[in-house]
Amino acid sequence: MFLRNNTPSDRVVNLLINSLLVLILLAMLMPIAFMVTASFMPANEIFTMPYRWIPKTFIFSNYFHAVAGNDESFIFIRNLINSLIVALSTAALSVVVSGLAGYGLSKFRFKGRNFIFLMLMGRMMIPFEAIMIPMYITAVRLGLQNTYPGLIMPFILNTFGLFQMRQYLMTFPDDILDAGRIDGLSEMGIFWKLVFKNSTPAIATAAILSFRGQWDNLLWPLLIAQKERMKTIPTYIIKFTEEKSSDEGAMMAVAVLASLPIIILFLTLSKYFLHGSTMYTASKE
């Protein structure tokens, strides 16, 4: 688009833009490359000046150290599984809740609809740190500390996901819904069989949003998961990096290991990750 490639001057411009793009990408990927290479180095090699981008010898003990932990309890594996459970179930539940609400808010007229929508959107303006303590007290009263529901429930409602479902469903053809009603499907049936099943792209992007949020979540698991076996990866990283006997190489190894699952997910579902952005552009009512 935009640029033609006909005249020599066009080609020069193109070449310039291409090299600029390469520079931008290099700069953006530099920290990630650093993380990967440093994870194979002993601490003092990481701080040699200038930095050697290829380790003198590849050291794998950093990875053992990262997984085993300083007490060799291998709790990392359990914590990783916890993170997966929490992130996956939050993602699954949140798309159902967002789907239902998005459907209700886009296809039904009822009193207070706009108010409810604005109220739900207002959540974006509340910093988590501000409501963390009352939230914790609520969770404790519900007996949710050290449980998976405790880690999951407060994040099932995902404002972005909901917003996106609503935007997507607004363009959902009414004819299909009416056809369903004529065929005698119940309202719930219409939702499941016609709406939900035909919204895969929106669902996938909303699910990814929730998954990422939970994978990244630090403060809440720190408060609510007090037992070692209920902790998640971000809390493990904080604990590991703070211990006196962890060196920088092992820290980078933990960082690599913690990033692998999400990067794999990202590469396999890249279509939906990139699609997640459409919500902003479809924001006109």
């Binding site: 953006m28 920290p31 930095y51 609400a101 739900l120 303006m125 409501i131 990283i237 980078m252 552009t281």
Partner: protein
């Protein structure tokens, strides 16, 4: 059974569908928020077993008179401006560059997006080591500027600290917003662009007169979301100060809220600050929306 009109019936289903979301909202957002607001009028201390006393607007007066709060407002404002303007402008430019490429568009987008999938804890960890005086931050910058052995003091100089936090933030989110613009640009009708070319418009003219006006709604959404996220930003600043960076330039409102509650145990004052931050966010969002509404180009 009494006959219920079809509209009424539909309305009832509407309520049913939004009920789970509303219930979760009440439990984990509205209740904590009202609780926090109620707390602002009492002198509640965490850990204290004594019954809290009603103090009226005393907490508001204290916070509004405290230099630490205004320093935090300044830190938040500087961070937000510092991150929000480059993020919006550069993601728009990157978006234009990416769409202008014929080949490898998907691959470019994927690579740009990668930093956004890393968790903030991991990002802060990597950058802490990069910004170590002996780390690659200094060596790369010294290499580019052809200076030797200059310590750029990423984590100690107040100006550099702000630059460092903004760098991390922009690095992490620019790919995400670039892709939003890519999607937005892709929606510009091909025929419009062709018409412009036929009419003899140059590339710059096409971008300025056709693409940019059509991107207004996208830009508006991106800027509001970025602004809100910047105002709420917490984890980078928190992890930096935990590692020994000076607090003052990094003491954004959210961090101040956190310290006031967790270190000073003064939950009431923390709630006052949260409420004031909420007000600021609301005013900014509403004014941003209304200012843009007046000149959105329809297509």
């Amino acid at each position: 059974m009494k006959y219920i009109g079809i509209e009424k019936k539909k309305a009832r289903w509407g309520y049913m569908f939004v009920a789970p979301a509303v219930l979760l909202f009440f439990m984990f957002s509205l209740y904590p928020m009202l609780n926090a607001f109620y707390n602002t009028f009492f002198n509640i201390k965490l850990l204290s077993l004594r019954a809290p006393k009603f103090v009226g607007l005393k907490n508001y007066i204290f916070v509004l008179n405290s230099p630490s709060f205004w320093n935090s407002m300044k830190a938040t404002a500087l961070f937000t401006l510092g991150a929000f303007i480059p993020l919006t402008i550069f993601s728009l430019i990157f978006g234009l560059i990416v769409t202008s490429r014929m080949r490898n568009q998907k691959a470019i987008q994927l690579l740009m997006y990668t930093p956004a999938v890393l968790s903030s804890v991991v990002a802060a960890l990597i950058w802490m080591i990069i910004f170590d005086p002996r780390g690659i931050g200094n060596s790369i910058v010294n290499n580019i500027l052809q200076t030797h052995g200059i310590d750029h003091r990423w984590l100690t100089d107040p100006v550099m600290l702000r630059v460092s936090t903004v760098t991390i933030y922009v690095w992490k989110y620019i790919g995400y917003f670039t892709i939003i613009f890519v999607t937005g640009i892709a929606k510009v009708p091909e025929s419009t662009l062709e018409a412009a070319t036929i009419a003899g418009a140059s590339t710059m003219q096409t971008i300025r007169l056709i693409v940019l006006p059509l991107l207004k709604p996208t830009t508006l959404m991106v800027s509001i979301v970025t602004m809100l996220n910047c105002l709420k930003s917490f984890s980078t600043q928190y992890l930096f100060t935990q590692r020994g960076a000076p607090l003052e330039p990094l003491n954004v409102v959210t961090l101040n809220i956190y310290n006031t509650a967790m270190r000073d145990l003064n939950i009431s004052r923390a709630c006052v600050m949260s409420f004031l931050l909420f007000l600021v966010m609301m005013i900014l969002t509403l004014s941003r929306m209304s200012s843009s509404e007046r000149n959105v180009t329809e297509y």
